[in-house]
Every structure is written in structure tokens, then in C-alpha cells.
Amino acid sequence: MRKFSYLFILMFILMMVASSTAWAQDGLDTGDNAWILASSALVLLMTPGLAFFYGGMSSVKNINNMIFMVFMCISIVSVQWVFWGYSISFGGGDIGGFFGGLSVAGLHGITPDSLSGTLSEYTFVAFQATFAIITVGLILGAVEGRMKFNACLLFIVLWATFVYDPVCHWVWGGGWAGNLGILDFAGGTVVHINSGAAALALVLLLGKRKGANVRPPANVPMVALGASLLWFGWFGFNAGSELAADGRAAFAWVITNTATASAVFAWVMSEWIYRGKPTLLGAASGAVAGLVAITPASGFVGPLGAVQIGIFAGIGCYFACVKLKAALGYDDALDVVGVHGIGGTIGAFATGLYTTQMVTGPDTPNGFFIGWDAAGLKQLGLQCIGLSATWAYAFTATIIIGLVLKYTIGIRTTEEQEDTGLDITLHGESGYHLETEAADTLKV
């Protein structure tokens, strides 16, 4: 404990030093700054939205555990981001195109006057923090009902540090992927393929749940509520990723909504034709699949491209959840691989098909389906490099983190805990007390 207090004192001194190095700058655009601050709040709301989305799909005996794990991502990653996450992702130069340095650890030297483009650097720090938070949260839907809580908390901080932060640096922080010209507007690779690949790795290490513990969703209306909050927050995610309050931000807003709406319809029609009944759970899942797929493409593709990406996402993710999972046999409880891994892959690939100079100007080529030329094909190749590299790195690094946890503190709960439910055994609280009042007595 004493060591910790020294650490805190050191942090405090660093903060004091940092706060004395303020200098005045102009170039801040108040409109941009205001929009991105608002976007940061929108994206932060996505994480509780995700918690409800996942919680509603959990077994009723694990619903608190699921919401709690996702909620703890806000608690842990917010602080990790300030300590070193922002520095590895964006700060302090570039180490081999792979990591940022540690020179802005603790946000050292960043003052209220520091700028990032036309934004206050703190606005940028806040906005990007919310992405790091939700990306870790996305993974946890896969592990419903069988992950130890202490292992989960350690996983959150390790994964954010060794997987999210480097991949974020590759694409947006001046690393190799961004320099190569791989297009990812708001996080198809960084957020979705990254979390989908990690989910696959983690469920392979954890193993399957017992058949009797695979329960139907506890609360489908809560899933719909969560999906709606995600949809709402996603406007900050995609339109905010323009990092300015300009026409392209408005464009990304419309593209996002269009693709998502198309994906809802495509998913519902798929299950209606394939299984005979349309479901609310399907509509909520289709919305998230569409949001995921349009994420990398939202600042690059036109409105009709967005409709097509939405349709691909709705149909592709539906069959990934229903067919692919069953065929490969992994127990991805809430379909993180099917929705985020596959949806992100569809989006990252389709960005190379539909990106248009109508939106981007001459800086990037037309996509293959727009220009039908060699430049489009090259862009498609770059997209494939980006998505394959993310799948490979995230999967491998997650396996390593998972193995370290497995052979130190252990990652899997006991069979007895899983049968009773993690809410009672790990947290001592039930999600619902719907029995008659006489069943519980207040202990004074």
C-alpha cells in the first residue's frame, strides 16, 4: 500500500509540473470543439447502452454480472487512458509505427491551451477515451456466465494497454496502417474487428458453457433499449470522428443512419424468410450490425453505398450468428464475433468498394465499385491488409493475455457458481426481486 502512495505522490507532482507549462495558442475552433465535446458524451453513453444490450440478452441469473463487467470498463479504462493509454495511442511520437511513446503519460504537458487540430487537446483526449472504453466492453458479451470477475477486471486493463492502444496507434495515431493509406473512418478495424477477434480468442480459452446454462434472453425489451441507446450514441462515434462540425460530419450522420436502417430491415427479412418469424431481438441485432459495418465507411461512402453496406451487414451478420457459430462450434454467448468481427470485416472491406471522391476529394482514390480502376483495386487490397493484420494481432495478443491470466489467477468460474448464477455467487445480488414481499426480510 505504501508503494501505491508513493506512486500517487509522484503522479501528483507530475500533474503540478504539467499544469505550470501553459501557453496561449489560437486556432481553436469553438464550433468544432463544442461538437466533439458533445460527441464524446454521446459515445460515452454507448457503453451503458451496450451494458443494457448485453444484459438483456444474458441469462436472468447473470444479468447483473454482465452489466457490471461492461460498466467497469468505464471505471478502469477512463483512468488507464489518462495514465498511459492516450500516450501509447496518440502521444509522444512513434515507435516503429507500432506504439506511441510514454511522453504524455499522465497527460503530462497537456494544458487547457494545448491544441489538437482545431480542437482543445483535452477534447480529443476525451473523445478518444470513450472509444477505448467501449471497445473493451464489446468483447465481454462473448463471455456471459463463465468469467471470473477479478480476471475480467485485469483483462480490461491488460487488453486496453496491449491491444487497443497499439492498434489505435497504427490507424489513427500516426502508425503504419494510417501511413499506408488504409481507410478506417471511425473504427471498423480499431474497434470492431479488434473486439470481435479478441472475443473469439477469449471464448476459445474459456471453453463452452454447460448446455443447461445457455438460457434464453432475460429481457428482450432491455435489449431493444440498449440497441436504441447505441444507435443514438453512434452519431457521436461516426459523425464525431470527422473531428470537426462541418459538412462531412453531417454527411457521416446521414450515412450512419441510412446504413443502420437498411441493416435492421435486412436482418429482419433474413430471419423472417429463413426461420418464419420476424423478431424484435433480430431488429435490435440488425441495428448494431449496421452501425458496426458503416463505422469504417461513414466518412467515405455515398448514401447508396451505405444502403448496400447495411444490407450486406444485416444478411451477413445474421448468418454469421446463426450458421457460422454453429458450424465452427465456439460458444460466443452474445455473438460478438458474428456482429462485431464479421460486421467490422464487411465494413472495412466494403469501404474499399464504395469510397468516393465525391466525399473525400482527390486525396483518396475512388473505391473499386465506384471507379472500376486499378487505384480502387489497390485500395481494396490495402483494406484487406488492414483487416487481416487487425484480426491476426488482436487474436494472438488476446490469446497471450488470456493464457497469462488463466495460469496465474484463473479465468473460468466453477461449475457450481455457473449453475447457481454469477449474480448470486460472485456479487451476492439478484437482478430482480419479483417475488412476494414476505420472501425478504430486512436485517437491521
Binding site: 434464453p216 431481438l281 441485432s285 450458421k323 454453429a326
Partner: protein, 112 residues
């Protein structure tokens, strides 16, 4: 005295309750129950995963009545709770030795 236990569809509770009141049944106890009979259950599908729901929620109405009223009351229940499809439920009739009203201590027919 006879006890009538009728297991009926959830959605028929309102109609049966009103019909029993109209037929002069003084009191009844209603319970939400789960079970299955000839109707073997239904299948729910969530994201392509099928769950067999073989215990279906039903309503159980219990009423203790005078022997002479049994026929009228069971007929009333059959008339109001019937849809003609599988899953309409069942009625069980059994003998009751005694009944006692807690407030007054009265027993037998006076207590029901």
C-alpha cells in the same frame, strides 16, 4: 363440499372470473402456474438458437362450492374457457372435508 380446480389459458381468466361471479361463486383463489398436458410445449427462437418451452404458463382457479352447484359451475367454466384448440386446460373436482372461516370460526358450507 367440492373443490373445483380449473387450469385454463392465461387470456381466459377475465371471462371465466366474471362468469363464475355471475354463477354465484362466493370466493376463488387464482394462481399463476406452469405445466403441460397434451400440448407438449412451444419453441422460441433467439438469433437462430432454439429453446423448447415445455412448461407453459397457465392460470389455476380454485373454488370450493356446494355439491349441488358443481355441474353448473364446471359447465360455466367449460363454456367460457373453451377455444377448441389444444391447450384449453382441465378441470379437476375433489371432495373437501371441511372449511373454516378464520375471522369467525364458522365451519362447513357457512364458511365458503
Amino acid at each position: 363440499m367440492k373443490k373445483i380446480e380449473a387450469i385454463i389459458r392465461d387470456e381466459k381468466l377475465g371471462a371465466v372470473k366474471e362468469a363464475l361471479k355471475a354463477a354465484g361463486v362466493a370466493g376463488m383463489t387464482v394462481t399463476e402456474v406452469k405445466g403441460h398436458g397434451t400440448q407438449k410445449g412451444i419453441t422460441e427462437v433467439y438469433r437462430g438458437r432454439q429453446y423448447a418451452v415445455d412448461l407453459i404458463s397457465k392460470i389455476k382457479i380454485e373454488a370450493v362450492v356446494d355439491d349441488k352447484d358443481v355441474k353448473t359451475i364446471t359447465d360455466t367454466i367449460v363454456d367460457t374457457a373453451k377455444t377448441g384448440s389444444i391447450g384449453d386446460g382441465k378441470i379437476f373436482v375433489s371432495s373437501v372435508d371441511d372449511a373454516i372461516r378464520i375471522r369467525t370460526g364458522e365451519s362447513g358450507l357457512k364458511a365458503i
